[in-house]
């Protein structure tokens, strides 16, 4: 049996490998997707912030779009992506530099998801409360 065959077999039915199939691969997919999303938001965010050099009115008008209910939902999604990318990034650093990182990489991913969920519950509740307190309607 070649190495490739054994990897494929174990990836589909068994424990998988560090990178192929299961937790290792899906965390990698998630890291890429959130990374690309954050990158494009960052381009937009620097541009909207740059409007402080145009005029206070221009900045306030554009930043006001972030206070629309639809954008509030979008912000929860954005922060969800950032928080996953952050915690999974710490996991990647541990896989690379911690002696037992590769052995516990699956457990660490579940840890990432649990801490992510707790963080996101806190953020979502607080963000929605603050939004509703200051909301003046449509």
């Amino acid at each position: 049996m070649t190495q490739t065959e054994s990897e494929t077999k174990s990836a589909s039915g068994g424990r998988g490998t560090l990178y192929k199939g299961r937790e290792g691969m899906w965390s990698w997919v998630g890291h890429r997707i959130t990374g690309v999303g954050i990158f494009f938001f960052l381009l937009v965010h620097v541009l909207d912030t740059s409007l402080v050099r145009v005029s206070p009115e221009a900045y306030n008008a554009v930043i006001g779009a972030y206070k629309h209910p639809i954008m509030i939902i979008g912000e929860i999604g954005l922060v969800g992506g950032i928080v996953f990318h952050a915690f999974n990034g710490i996991r990647i650093i541990l896989v690379d530099f911690w002696k037992k990182g590769t052995r516990y990489h699956r457990q660490m991913l579940w840890g990432v998801l649990i801490v992510w969920a707790v963080t996101m519950i806190g953020f979502t509740v607080r963000h929605l409360m603050l939004f509703l307190e200051g909301w003046e309607g449509f």
Binding site: F39, L43, V46, S50, V52, A86, H127
Partner: protein, 169 residues
Amino acid sequence: MATQANPEAVLPAQGIEAPRSGRIDPKYLRSRTSRSNFEMMAWVFMRVSGAALVVLIFVHLWVNLMVGDGIHQIDFSFVAGKWANPVWQFWDLTMLWLAMLHGTNGMRTIINDYAEKDSTRAWLKAILYLSAAVIIILGTMVIFTFEPCLTDEAGNLLEGVAPEFCHGV
């Protein structure tokens, strides 16, 4: 057979070839001294900047969205108030540079992975580097040339726009 073996892949003590050493194009051999260690530097940078960005961005989100009035407090005078403090100027500048370089290197990796045609890859990376340069330079200039205490033609502070501390000056 032995004549085809790459001399660098031969173990000096026993003279035994490393596995597959005779069948690998020399340009893919890891023992080859590479022209630069750019990729290794990039790999290290992703981890160092990533760890720093977790702190920089979490504090950024906390201060802007989780305390005070949250999302509703963000307007011109809020930004002016923050950038009146050199600590926040430095904070945002560091965040801008690290996030843009981290993100650009991540996008570069993804383009290298999926764009198989040489010309497509070159074009995508050219667009990426140009966009990144524009955003980094623009953001840096905005932070350093920002004027928080705007006045009208008569020299009076613009009411409702200038942050509190402008009135004391």
